[in-house]
């Protein structure tokens, strides 16, 4: 089984978010970049299939040379090889078209990725990719098993879960639950050394057009100061929630 894991390179979850050039550009100053957490769940599950079922795991990412440490980290965690599509991603449509091209060249059985990236939160690349390739799509996946050419996937739906079966090839967009937090791998020295020798190929992007464009960013409005209430006077809280906030 060949698995293609799509990786996004995003600011660490603790990052303070600021913008430059009159709020038109994300300020990367002092920001630590990491593997998108949802993609890391997907990668970790892919490595499990590699260890238990002999799968080959290829990671792919659209980005310029500055994002390569993120791909090397994926290799250090255990991916067999990596592909970097040498382009600055413009929007989800552009990225999905690039990834579709890689899929077509590689005869993969499974595309595994996170349901969204934590920076632009487009939540569209997995679905676009499945639709461009005309293969089935499972979103918000919290458990995935593969038996031969059949996948069984549990997904989160509003107010519960739903389990599907599907034939490979398949696009699966994962989220928390796909693997446990404790299963996430921290690269060890051996993994880091091996990652240096694993193949990382750089490919040119195919022609593709973006269909959306971010014009400007805004930060949420500053909040008014918190009203403090005495711990012995919960009646006051109830009164405020009822009469002032009007939420109960």
């Amino acid at each position: 089984m060949k698995i293609l894991v799509c990786i996004s390179h995003v600011p660490d979850t603790t990052s303070k978010i600021n913008f430059n050039n009159e709020l038109t550009e994300f300020d990367t100053n002092g920001v630590q970049f990491v593997i998108n957490p949802y993609d890391e769940f997907a990668l970790t599950r892919a490595i499990w299939f590699q260890e238990k079922q002999g799968a080959k795991v290829t990671v792919v990412h659209v980005g310029d040379a500055s994002t390569e440490p993120t791909l090397r980290k994926c290799l250090a965690i255990g991916a067999d090889d990596a592909i970097r599509i040498d382009a600055v991603p413009t929007d989800g449509f552009f990225v999905a078209q690039q990834l579709a091209e890689i899929y077509k060249q590689g005869e993969y059985d499974l595309i595994l990725t996170g349901k969204e990236s934590i920076d632009y939160n487009g939540a569209m690349v997995p679905g676009l990719l499945a639709s461009f390739l005309d293969i089935d799509f499972v979103n918000a996946c919290i458990s995935l098993e593969i038996d031969g050419t059949t996948a069984t996937a549990e997904t989160e739906i509003d107010g519960g879960t739903e389990t599907f079966t599907a034939n490979l090839p398949l696009v699966v967009a994962g989220q928390k639950g796909l693997v446990e937090e404790k299963d996430l791998k921290i690269p060890n020295m051996r993994g880091i050394m091996m990652a240096r020798k694993k193949p990382l190929s750089i490919v040119a992007p195919v022609e593709a057009t973006a269909v959306t464009e971010i014009e400007r960013f805004e930060k949420p409005a500053q909040k008014a100061a918190c009203k403090m209430i005495d711990a012995n006077d919960v009646d006051q809280l109830i009164e405020l929630l009822h009469n002032e906030a009007k939420v109960i």
């Binding site: 913008f19 519960g160 959306t212």
Partner: protein, 317 residues
Amino acid sequence: MSVLVFADTSEGIYKKSTLETVSYAKAISDLLGSELVAVSMNATDNTALQNYGANQIVNVQSASLNNKQYAATLTQIAKEKNSTVVVLGNNAIGNSVAPLIAAQLKAGYTSNVVAVPINTAPFTVVRKNFSGKAFGQTQILSEVKVIGLAKNSFGIVEKPTTATVTDFQATETNTTLASVSVDKNSGKIAIADADIVVSGGRGLKEASNFSLIEDLAEVLGAATACSKPVSDMGWRPHSEHVGQTGKPVAANLYIAVAISGAIQHLAGVNASKTKVVINTDPEAPFFKAADYGIVGDAFEVVPKLIEKLKAFKAENA
């Protein structure tokens, strides 16, 4: 020209979030001066959509459809109705169907939109990004636009109309995806649907103490939630984890008990209208993001709050 909106149902009934999505789509159709076409899925009574401005109701009755079948059906209707904007709610089904439709219609898709477009030419929307830490003004450059509406960002607006109703057969498509089982959290309120969410953190010390959170939620008719460390330690299921890598919360009232308010947690819950924080540490960062705060021990404050709320509910019932 038309605006198309996906009106899904739960057990035959439109959820509040669906009515909000229809109200929002109506506002866009007013801006564009075009008709609103609502695609109703498995509703027992689709006339309800007339109250929220639908000019045409396309009624689809079908056994359970998967995301590809939903997308094929909506794409076909959008083409027949010459729709320039397709609106879905960012719930579980909307999230998986919207990108599939966008690919089929070669349309730009923006999820988590929080308001009516600020401009229709060029078509510009404001959406949440950086997991709620910022907003982005985004232009959709394609002829057809697909929009996902963030929950609780527009509200339900009644606009009575008289609609024409037509029946439509779900579109066939090649798919191997088959549903084998559905497991509903019966008797529990889903975080996505809840007006009020009560959430507990590591400060509650152990899993069994979450009975406090459950009791408070019960009095308020609220959903229960938790912070990331709590779900990582297995005190509560992952489905209750709210925050940047968990579920987003956009409730009317969010009560955080013994949660310090790490930046990742705040990012996921800051779309809630009113936030109440109960924490022993007056320096907890959550107080800076809250509307009402109590510095105190959850084990003393919450039982008192439950008792007083019961009395309040009895009086105001």
